[in-house]
């Protein structure tokens, strides 16, 4: 049973980025097959140089970096969304693979369950 967790929200402005990560961690804890797709404004979660302590929030990019430790390695970003937002400096993102719209469509089709947050 595979879960595709689609993130569509920028971090910090609302709780969705954090609450989506919590789902991912929970799925990993229960050893479920989970993939994360960053699309739309969720691409901003991948930006480098986040200093969230300035607004008293936990650092999303640090949490994302830690995901492979919990066994979450299937992470993808919509390359078109990255380009449109002119995001050039990403956090250490060796685990995150860029996908085209066509590949993303295939991901939606092959997942058993899709959760968008």
């Amino acid at each position: 049973m595979s879960i595709l967790l689609v993130q569509q929200s920028a971090p910090y402005g609302n709780s969705s980025a954090k609450e989506a990560l919590d789902i991912a961690l929970s799925a990993a804890t229960f050893e479920q097959d989970i993939s994360i797709l960053f699309t739309g404004d969720a691409c901003y979660q991948l930006m480098a140089n986040q200093n969230s302590e300035k607004i008293d929030q936990k650092n999303i990019s640090q949490m994302l970096k830690a995901l492979p430790i919990y066994g979450i390695e299937e992470m993808y970003v919509d390359e078109d969304c990255l380009r449109k937002r002119q995001i050039t400096h990403l956090t250490d993102s060796s685990s995150i693979k860029k996908l085209s719209k066509t590949d993303i469509k295939k991901m939606y089709q092959s997942a058993d369950t899709v959760i968008r947050l």
């Binding site: 569509q8 739309g40 719209k101 993303i104 939606y108 089709q109 997942a111 058993d112 899709v114 968008r116």
Partner: protein, 98 residues
Amino acid sequence: MILHTINKTSSHESLNQQLSDTVDACDSVILIENGAYQAQQLTSTPVNHWSQTAKNIYVLERDALARGVSMSIDKINYIDYTKFVELSLLHDKVISWY
């Protein structure tokens, strides 16, 4: 075969574009909540719009009736919640666009 639900009007361009990028020819879309308003605009959508790709377009009739949306728009299937549930099981999964 995916069942997509969308609950926003056409003014949510990014969301509608994401749906258009994802919908396949064997998928169906249900317009729910404020998404029901989109039923009135489907004759004027561009060629890659989800409404041109999707196999069937449904509207939750109660959401259409509540909003004064016409109950006789061509190519729209008006359904109740029971049919919504049925469609959920007939398709492989449900993806909610909101």
